[in-house]
Amino acid sequence: MSLSRRSRSYLLGLFAILAMSEVPAHGERNQEPFLRMRTAHFYDVTWSTDKVKVNEDVVIEGKFRLFEDWPANLPEPDVAFLGNGTPGPVFVRTESWLNGRPAIQSVPLKIDRDYAFKTVLKGRIPGDHHVHPMVNVEGAGPLMGPGSWVQVAGRASDFELPLTTLDGTKIDNLETWGVSSVVGWHAVWIVIAILWLAWWTRRPLLIPRLVAIDEGREKLLISRSDLMAGAVLIVLTVSVVVIGFMWAENTFPRTIPLQGGRAVVKPLPRSQAPVDVVVERATYDVPGRSMQIRASVTNQGSRPIQFGEFATSGLRFVNRELPAAMATVAPNYPKELVPPAGLRLGDTTPLGPGETRSILFDMTDAAWETERLTSLLNDPDNRVGGLLFCFDDRGERIIANVSGPIVPIFKDLVAHQGMTH
């Protein structure tokens, strides 16, 4: 279809202009905080590059955990699909893997388990695109991970997706495959329909015919040649259908139905040395844009641990005083998702094996507002959730779930008092 190529070129120019004005997100910010804090927590997410040409690949890898404190109003992830949060098909997804298994089909996933994903996207429509990893859960909708900008350069009309089928058919470009035959068959039927309508509409149509029936002269309305035309139409229609069907059977003798099976993917193994976190009190200081969580943390492992990061809704509050934690932040990780103040602790002493201690976690940043996570105060289910990344003295990471009710504090003074209790 030359028309579609032209329109793509037109779109390319338009999009290139539009891409100059960056959009900070695409829709995830207005998703309710419970959806973002207590469903899929993405971590270790990397983007192989932030700039590709049309037809070049960008690889997004990482992991996600389906949160233990899954919202009661959402269906469990019995049917899920590894998607990608892009503005539609501006990229073409050529591969996606979930724990090393192909993710071309939907899969059942388990709550409180971790999955590693890898998605390969091929640049298609030029522009600056925000690219998120994403999991779609049936009934819960799209659950988005952190987003990073990837620029696609070049011309949309240069995009091609060639492949060879199992019967040896070489498809030069999937974009245009089969389209000319679709258009051709539609044209055949449209022409026949127009001829049939022209046969009837060339004569006086409405009032004279209505009156003729009212006055009992309906026999004059259908002539012998009309009946003949009807018979010809039936024969023609059935013949065209039969000929078309036989042509398709001969041209494509080996076809298969749509593949609708479900895949099976085992989750990643559980951590052997869990850390147990029980939230005692969590508050959000509205004017101060500060979340504080006092929690009783138990180290059930055999080595002392320190706390490196609190991650929720794509935001990473990283403890800047812990090198092992800072080392996990890749240089090209989106800056706006790593608040500068990071995670601050009321007590920085490592937590010994078997020890239980009450610790204050402080996450203060305007990101709570810009990401609209504070709108959780409007939710009927006011609970905060996130992942706490702990590091032992060998630098090994243990991931703990943190969830509990949260109380808003509307004045600085009260907030301060609240946390001293």
Binding site: V23, P24, H26, G27, N30, L206, I207, S223
Partner: protein, 259 residues
């Protein structure tokens, strides 16, 4: 063809020019050209601002380009309702009994043209922007009820067809004796059904807020629109009604000519 239509006059007399005086196509054609320009403008606006300012409803640009458009079009369309409908009401014919057949015929053709403009607007809602809505919502993550598709489909094109749907109904009621005498049920259905699509949005948004997180266009949530859309079939009844009225006036025209 020739067996059913026999011409007894080879030369058309001056009377052949008369129908033109009874059928004034210009206002309808200009209105439809205007509507086409408006719809093309909407479509271009979507192409430009949907991707650049319509993906994140918390973005200030969204407020400017989409909520701004929403407010603007609602104000203008509601004002146009008030304007056209009150004009039709105020200028109504209070002496319908004295209506001459030629004038009545002229008004019937005006009514048909009103209905044509109405149908033309309904096309942009029922067909053009409605399926565009699928292409948008199945492609992006919906984060507001006022998406770049809804701002135009629901709040731009529906109020516009309501303008002409109710307008035509009022035209008939205020200028045509038989529509003034008795309310046409098929016409009322053909106007009220599509009108109710607007309040039916409440059901749609309720469902999308509490029930359906993914875009499945064939979902029962959308069937309210379908059932209300069926009321367009009542145009068949209206066609029969108008056709019989017009035929009756034709008889009077012939009597007049004979006299």
């Amino acid at each position: 063809m020739s067996s059913v239509i026999q011409s007894s006059g080879e030369v058309r007399s001056a009377t052949a020019a008369r129908p033109r005086s009874m059928v004034n196509l210009k206002p309808a054609i200009f209105t439809m050209i205007g509507i086409t320009v408006l719809m093309a403008g909407y479509r271009i606006y979507q192409q430009i601002y949907a991707w650049s300012a319509g993906l994140d409803s918390t973005d200030p640009a969204f407020e400017t380009y989409w909520m701004g458009l929403l407010k603007g079009e609602l104000v203008i369309l509601v004002m146009s309702w008030v304007g056209l409908w009150s004009w039709l009401w105020v200028t109504r014919d209070r002496n319908l009994q004295a209506l001459k057949p030629r004038e009545e015929m002229r008004r019937y053709f005006n009514l048909v043209l009103y209905i044509m403009v109405y149908a033309f607007c309904v096309y942009f809602t029922g067909s053009f922007f409605a399926e565009m809505d699928a292409s948008w919502h199945q492609t992006v993550v919906r984060d507001t009820a006022f998406t770049p598709s809804h701002v135009i489909l629901f709040y731009g094109t529906i109020p516009l067809y309501i303008l002409f749907g109710v307008g035509g109904f009022l035209y008939a009621m205020t200028r045509l004796p038989r529509f003034a005498d008795r309310i046409s049920i098929p016409y009322a259905l053909a106007v009220a059904g599509p009108f109710l699509i607007l309040p039916n949005l409440g059901y749609n948004e309720w469902g999308h807020a509490f029930w359906m997180m993914e875009e499945f266009f064939s979902a029962p949530l959308h069937w309210g629109f379908v059932v209300l859309g069926w009321s367009v079939l009542a145009l068949g009844g209206l066609l029969l009604q108008i056709a019989r009225h017009v035929f009756e006036i034709m008889g009077r025209l012939e009597q007049e000519a004979a006299a």
